[in-house]
């Protein structure tokens, strides 16, 4: 009898496996959407598939959000060459950025972390606006971004991508995959990129984008045994990234530490090991246990002119969770424990800010789903952190479908974090500003932890307009800071001040979105965004610097029908950014001043892809084809060691237009 049951289960499992394969096959032939907005998930979540990622020029994770309305991408700045992202008007430290649900961009990696994940490694990205789930931690305030990498068991044996652009950047991505047995598979990803030539298009004597070299290797193993219900991932990763920027004439071998020429180098070496084990209970597909562990060592050595900044972070993260149901699958829960340990060795010039942070926490998240038109996720966690103390983090998400193809969502939640003021604001080292921390009683660089509440409401509706599919959406979010580590650039052009918020600080964001299939296979995506982000500074209340109040995004995509496995794809993106508050510089000599507000500007990107066969595709494109450039990129460029030097204010592209070409080669 037992044998029969076993056979039956095996049969069932194999049947379901077959049906899964069938589904995937269907997916390939069916047109896949680049951005999927769910009408059934509880959170306001958008899923970016790998198809959407192919639209960006060259990809690392930081560059993959350009066509996505939920996330604002700024152009890469001259100093770091990395694109910074914002959600609801708040920069990435206020987001929880995870890789396969393990928090990845945090602490020391905050400034450049997103550029350390090559785009070709990514299977999909889930973006949740608002508070988010409590499972991965308490730090997220305005949103969560989770990246899923390609899975070894479903990956193709070989993939090659090469890329080159007119700003002298070259990239190579190679993926190798091997099925070791019917249950084990492994992938090896090797990424290299380099910028080999010096560019100074605006003739200010400074590089427009850094010289760089990166080598990034990931080896991952996947185990899946449907009979026992065991699933596992093991990842090993090594990354080495070197950047050099500053004056064109700067020679790192002879000019470092001198006033001959101003220059900067940022060198990062990183090592990661992570494991994941999951077990699905026999005959109970709704019950499972997961155990994740991650260790990483991040070591950044850098100097910016005469400022020296070194940070090394050794982290350990562990998460044990249990999923099950109460009575039936309409009532699900996830509960578990987290442990985080961070050892920082941080040096700002001669000051030593080394420290150890650790926290333990327990969480419980309840999900109700009436399997029809209503669902709710109520989560809470308690944590004990050596600097943040003992605290409770509640989060709530609700979804209601009032009628067909309409979805209304509400969310509220609290987040708390310690601001890594130097790591998060390290672009300010590229200036003559002195760094001053005005408080000294707090436990994080003398400052208090940041605490914010986030509330949001959103509504989306799909409908048909002149027989074509259309979609309209609105959302409004508010982030209210109860406590904040204020970064004050409004006091003096020679100073940056850090202090505890006195008064109020909030971020309101409103977004309206309209998507329409203009004609068959021609899709239009548009979004207007309004941000009102105010903080009480010492000198008064101002909009957060370098944040546009109004933004507009438009994207047009067209694909021809697959003909003999051949296809054309066209993509055009238009990004308009309204005027931005700029840091205070009115006390400088007139030549070294910025106006109070930047001008508005538009950036346009275009890409054409030719699919020759399932094996080969070639793409060419242009970024910023309107050739918009920031008028004055650097203050005091003629006297970089003088009092008015500031290379940290980047509100628009500095390089101007850039064209690129690349190819993708796959063996299936």
């Amino acid at each position: 009898m037992q044998k029969n049951i076993m056979l039956f289960v095996v049969l069932l499992l194999s049947v379901s496996m077959f049906s899964q394969e069938d589904l995937q096959e269907v997916k390939i032939t069916k047109k896949q959407k680049g951005i999927k907005k769910s009408y059934t998930l509880t959170g306001n979540t958008t899923i970016i598939t790998s198809k959407e990622l192919l639209k960006a020029a060259c990809c690392n994770l930081a560059e993959s959000f350009e066509t996505n309305p939920s996330i604002d991408v700024n152009f890469s700045d001259a100093l770091t060459g990395t694109k910074q992202i914002k959600m609801l008007g708040l920069t990435s430290p206020y987001l929880l950025i995870a890789e396969e649900n393990i928090p990845s961009v945090r602490g020391a990696s905050q400034a450049y972390g997103l550029s350390f994940t090559p785009g070709t490694w990514i299977e999909s990205v889930q973006i949740t606006k608002g508070a988010g789930s409590v499972i991965n931690g308490y730090e997220s305030i305005s949103g969560q971004i989770n990246t899923e990498l390609l899975k070894p068991l479903s990956d193709i044996p070989f993939f090659l991508n090469v890329y080159g652009s007119t700003d002298a950047r070259f990239e190579v991505n190679t993926h190798f995959n091997k099925k070791l047995s019917d249950k084990w598979a492994t992938s090896l990803f090797v990424h290299g990129n380099a910028r080999v030539a010096k560019n100074d298009m605006n003739d200010d004597g400074f590089l427009d984008n850094p010289l760089g070299k990166q080598i990034n290797v990931l080896n991952r193993y996947q185990y899946y045994n449907p009979e026992s219900g065991l699933v596992s991932f093991i990842n090993f990763r090594y990354m080495n990234d070197k950047k050099q920027t500053g004056e064109v004439d700067f020679d790192k071998d002879t000019d470092r530490g001198t006033k001959n020429h101003w220059g900067s180098e940022i060198n990062t070496e990183r090592f990661d090991v992570s494991t994941k084990i999951g077990y699905v209970f026999k005959d109970m597909p709704y019950q499972s246990i997961g155990f994740q562990n991650a260790f990483n060592s991040h070591n950044q050595n850098s100097y910016f002119g005469l400022n020296i900044y070194d940070i090394r972070q050794n982290s350990f993260y562990s998460n044990l969770m249990f999923n099950s149901i109460i009575n039936n699958t309409k009532h699900k829960f996830t509960t578990g424990l987290n442990f985080t340990y961070d050892q920082y060795q941080e040096f700002v010039n001669v000051n030593d800010y080394s420290r150890i942070d650790n926290s333990v926490g327990a969480f419980f998240e309840y999900t109700f789903d009436n399997t029809d038109n209503f669902s709710l996720i109520l989560g809470g966690r308690v944590d004990n952190h050596n600097r943040l103390g003992f605290f409770v983090t509640p989060r709530l998400h609700m979804r209601y479908n009032p009628w067909k193809n309409g979805v209304l969502r509400v969310s509220a939640g609290r987040g708390k974090r310690s601001a890594n003021i130097f790591a998060e604001n390290q672009q300010l080292f590229a200036s003559s500003r002195t760094f001053s921390i005005l408080d000294n009683t707090g436990k994080v660089y003398g400052l208090n932890p940041e605490i914010a509440w986030n509330y949001g409401v959103s509504f989306s509706q799909k409908f048909t307009l002149f027989t074509k599919n259309a979609e309209i959406g609105f959302d409004f979010y508010r982030t209210d800071f109860k406590s904040q580590a204020v970064v004050d650039l409004m006091q003096s052009p020679q100073e940056v001040l850090f202090y505890n918020l006195k008064g109020s600080s909030f971020a309101n964001s409103f977004q309206a979105e309209f998507n329409y299939e203009l004609i068959h296979n021609l899709n239009l995506r548009t979004a207007y965004k309004y941000y009102d982000i105010q903080t009480d500074y010492l000198r008064g209340t101002f909009q957060r610097p370098l944040q546009a109040k109004h933004r507009f995004l438009g994207n047009l995509e067209y694909e021809t029908a697959l003909n003999d496995d051949k296809q054309w794809k066209f993509d055009y993106t238009f990004n308009w950014s309204g005027k931005q508050q700029l840091p205070y510089t009115a006390s400088n000599p007139v030549a070294d001043q910025f106006p109070d507000f930047s001008p508005s500007y538009a950036v346009m990107n275009i890409q054409v892809t030719r699919v020759f066969s399932p094996v080969l595709e070639v793409y060419v494109g242009g970024e910023n084809i309107g050739n918009y450039k920031q008028e004055k990129a650097i203050l005091g460029a003629t006297d970089p060691f003088g009092p008015n030097f500031d290379a940290s204010v980047a509100y628009a592209p500095i390089f101007g237009q850039m064209y690129y070409a690349g190819l993708r080669f796959k063996i299936k």
Binding site: M1, L12, D283, M284, P285, Y286, I325, N327, N328, T329, K330, T371, D372
Partner: protein, 113 residues
């Protein structure tokens, strides 16, 4: 000898009877339920979830297969079939009454066998 056989038989019967009374807490049960559309799916699953002991329920529109995981200590598969029929959907085991069928929304009026 006769006694021995008898004893063995009784023991055997007793054993199998015991095996029968041992109820499965996580019985995976699949059966065909007649229906048409998304609305039927919601109704059928709602009815299934209404039976105590049903832990998961999902009905597939194209194959008409209803798959549930049932705690047999709380309800039997017959209880489940009856509950589905009560909302107007015929199952392999239990047919819906004419009035229950007539109460269905027009798009859900599947062809009865």
């Amino acid at each position: 000898m006769k006694n021995l056989i008898l004893i063995t038989m009784i023991a055997f019967l007793g054993f199998s009877a015991q095996a029968q009374t041992k109820k499965n807490k996580n019985l995976k049960y699949t059966t065909e339920v007649n229906g048409n559309c998304e609305q039927c799916k919601k109704r059928i699953e709602k009815a299934a979830f209404g039976v105590s002991g049903v832990k998961t329920a999902s009905w597939d529109i194209s194959s008409h297969q209803l798959t549930v995981i049932l705690n047999e200590e709380k309800a039997s598969t017959t209880d489940l079939n009856k509950a589905i029929a009560k909302v107007g959907h015929d199952t392999k085991e239990v047919k819906a009454t004419q009035t229950d069928y007539d109460n269905l929304h027009s798009c859900c009026k599947y062809e009865r066998e």
